[in-house]
């Protein structure tokens, strides 16, 4: 470890600690104690979504390296945490994202084309090219709006859930954040308010070991992130975040608790960020490659693959077929997105306010009279 800034954070064996909910055994069988009882078609649909997220991550990084998109922030290694938790939410529940959960947005019905449009910031981008790639929104899927500041979505999720409670409507809110966000003001505020007002919130901490280059032991001296709930009167639970079944189980339990009016839960999903923070980050500068192998062995996709192979006889040929199909779908979406025009110049001024005030009218007119009046890139 000499010369390296930090050791590899956490040991994968942490997921074997007695308090960590774990269902999927290494041999692909399930521990019946906490088995959420997923149907095989549900598992296959989730497997497909996880494989699609992985494929998107790989292809989008390549697009960024080719200079065709500006940025990507992926979820490689965290697919089970993200899809298991999104799956466990009921239709009337809402999801408040961090920025690493595109797989949950797609799960909630955001069309792949819209997501890829967001990567290109074109005129069909749900956010009209106003934010970096991976800062999307999908209200019709009860999925919130992504921003970059850390933790800000946490208090908002609590307020949203609290409003549902005030209005006596049955809706819980799942809010995603990373281990780094537990150091933010908003984590404290959100946990505190949710505890006091029993807001039906599911705090989902993707503990992926790293906040860019800073490992978990630099975020907290607490033994776990789940135990932070104790101080707020919010029950905490840890699960193996690379175990789809465990994630579904603990999230369902938290939603049920919220729906019974018993208030929030904090879930700490033990997972691992297998890549850099984003395409702008090179983890080799702070994280020794050697330590990754043990986490790669816990990769949630091969683990789930062993289960479906055992239960459904899933074959390598079926994996190939799936990949070919998903890749074709993605390539088609990229081809369309790349050819779609950038947003119109005047769209820069829309949605700042409900109506365009005089000073923005003046500034818009000045831009439209200028040398780029025909639009960006002309």
């Amino acid at each position: 470890m000499e010369g390296s800034a930090h050791p590899v954070a956490r040991h994968p064996l942490d997921t074997h600690a007695p308090d960590v909910v774990r269902v999927l055994r290494d041999d692909g069988t399930l521990d019946p104690t906490n088995d959420p009882g997923l149907r095989s078609d549900e598992v296959l649909t989730l497997y497909r979504a996880m494989v699609r997220a992985r494929l998107l991550d790989e292809r989008l990084v390549r697009l960024q390296r080719q200079g065709r998109i500006g940025f990507h922030i992926g979820c490689k290694g965290e697919e089970a945490s993200i899809l298991g938790s999104a799956f466990a939410m009921r239709q009337n529940d809402w999801i408040f994202p961090c920025y690493r959960e595109f797989a949950a947005a797609l799960w909630r019905g955001m069309p792949l084309q819209r997501y890829v449009d967001n990567m290109f910031g074109n005129t069909n981008d749900p956010v009209k090219g106003r934010q970096m790639p991976d800062h999307y929104t999908w209200k019709s899927g009860k999925f919130g709006s992504v921003s970059s500041p850390i933790g800000t979505q946490i208090t908002q999720a609590v307020g949203f859930a609290w409003a549902a409670k005030i209005r006596k409507e049955d809706a819980a809110v799942l809010v995603y954040f990373g281990d780094g966000a537990t150091s933010s003001n908003e984590f404290h505020n959100g946990m505190n308010f949710a505890g006091v007002f029993k807001a039906p919130t599911v705090f989902f901490c993707r503990n992926n070991g790293w906040a860019i280059s800073v490992p978990t032991e630099r975020q907290t001296a607490s033994e776990t992130f789940a135990q932070k709930g104790v101080a707020y009167g919010v029950p905490g639970v840890r699960c193996d975040g690379n175990d789809l079944f465990a994630v579904v189980k603990v999230t369902r339990d938290a939603v049920a608790r919220a729906a019974r009016g018993e208030g929030p839960t904090i879930i700490e999903a033990l997972t691992y960020r297998l890549e850099g923070h984003s395409t702008s980050d090179d983890p080799k500068a702070y994280r020794p490659e050697a330590g990754l192998d043990s986490w790669r062995r816990l990769d949630p996709i091969p683990r789930l693959r062993r289960y479906i192979e055992r239960t459904t006889g899933w074959t390598d040929a079926q994996d190939k077929e799936l990949e070919t199909e998903l890749d074709a779908e993605l390539q088609a979406a990229i081809a369309v997105a790349e050819k779609t025009a950038p947003p119109a110049l005047e769209s820069m001024f829309e949605d700042v306010f409900g109506e365009l005030p005089w000073h923005l009218q003046e500034q818009r007119d000045e831009l439209l009279r200028g040398p780029r009046a025909k639009g960006h890139g002309h």
Binding site: G159, A163, F193, V352
Partner: protein, 324 residues
């Protein structure tokens, strides 16, 4: 029409709108049982209950963050920040989240709050109970900023703010909470956002002012009148987007302008107003526009009446501008 002070008028507006619209909720520190440290929300807790008039934990960031979530759900939260000096723990939520929500979500999630907060000096509150941070919100794309100077406007602007589609920072000049009294229309009464009020007609010098300093400007204008200088006073009422038309019409008439505000001089709203006048009425100017403002120092305690742009500082500026 009943006579009210500012506190009563704002209370009346909140009560009126909460009766009319069950989505309106009030939350903040001490706003519930005790009715706020300035008693602005007095009696609302008894009438509407603790689901709609909510005493929160002591955290401005938590108040605004959760209020944004409530707004996204479809409620119309009117959070109170006890003093505008304490708004900064919520600045990230206001600047990066509230102000940007509609835009950054492509119009999917307009987030609408009215943040009420007592502002300004002259109450022996020292640095942390006296500042006027309006410019720090005006500079942020996506926020409207309002500051009434009298009870009727306070009620009318607050009702208009609550019904406006955009987030509004509603600054309440605490020095005149009880000192400013006047007739307030009963029942529904709105004053349009974005419209200034010409409170004194005049020919020689335009004074642009808002909030508690309006009364200082009126006092100075009365003294100037004794010296034959006829001031026109514009009470801005909405600080952003400001009523440029009223300002420019007046300046084109008088050719002379003094802008007065409590906030520090540099990069204050006065600077923006002067710049706009230069852009839009330069050839009508007969004298350099003047600013009479707080100083670029922290807000002092013992010397607060020397810091504030009171009439004794406004009058010389009027005379200098008129005689330039």
């Amino acid at each position: 029409m009943p006579q009210m002070n500012m506190v009563q008028a704002i209370n009346d507006a909140l009560r009126h709108e909460m009766r009319r619209d069950s989505r309106v909720v009030v939350l903040g520190e001490d706003v519930g049982k005790v009715g706020g440290v300035f008693r602005v929300t007095q009696g609302l807790f008894d009438e509407f209950g603790d689901d709609r008039v909510i005493d929160t934990p002591l955290s401005e960031g938590g108040i605004i963050g959760t209020a944004i979530g409530m707004a996204l759900y479809g409620l119309v939260p009117v959070p109170e920040i006890q003093f505008s000096d304490f708004i900064f723990p919520a600045y990230d939520q206001i600047v990066s989240e509230l102000a940007k929500y509609r835009y950054r979500s492509g119009g999917e999630y307009p987030a609408k709050l009215v943040i009420r907060t007592p502002t300004g000096g002259g109450i022996r509150g020292g640095h942390y109970h006296s500042q006027s941070p309006e410019a720090q919100f005006i500079h942020v794309a996506g926020l409207k900023v309002v500051c009434p100077s009298n009870p009727a406007d306070a009620k009318g602007l607050l009702l208009a703010s609550i019904r406006d589609p955009d987030p509004v920072l509603f600054f309440e000049p605490k020095r005149i909470y009880r000192a400013a009294k006047g007739e307030v229309p009963e029942g529904d009464h709105t004053v349009p956002i974005g419209k200034a009020s010409v409170v004194r007609k005049g020919q020689h010098v335009t004074i642009v002012v808002w909030g508690a300093m309006l009364y200082e400007a009126l006092d100075a204008a009365n003294q100037a009148a004794a010296q034959g200088i006829d001031c026109e006073i514009i009470d801005l009422r909405t600080l952003w987007p400001l009523d440029i038309e009223t300002i420019i019409t007046s300046v084109k008439k008088t050719g002379r302008v003094v802008v007065v505000h409590e906030a520090p001089k540099s990069c204050g709203l006065g600077g923006e107003i002067v710049a706009l006048i230069n852009e839009k009425a330069f050839l009508h100017l007969e004298a350099p526009p003047k600013r009479v403002t707080g100083f670029d120092t922290p807000f002092p305690y013992t010397l607060e009446m020397e810091y504030l742009p009171l009439s004794h500082r406004i009058l010389p500026a009027i005379i200098e501008t008129a005689r330039y």
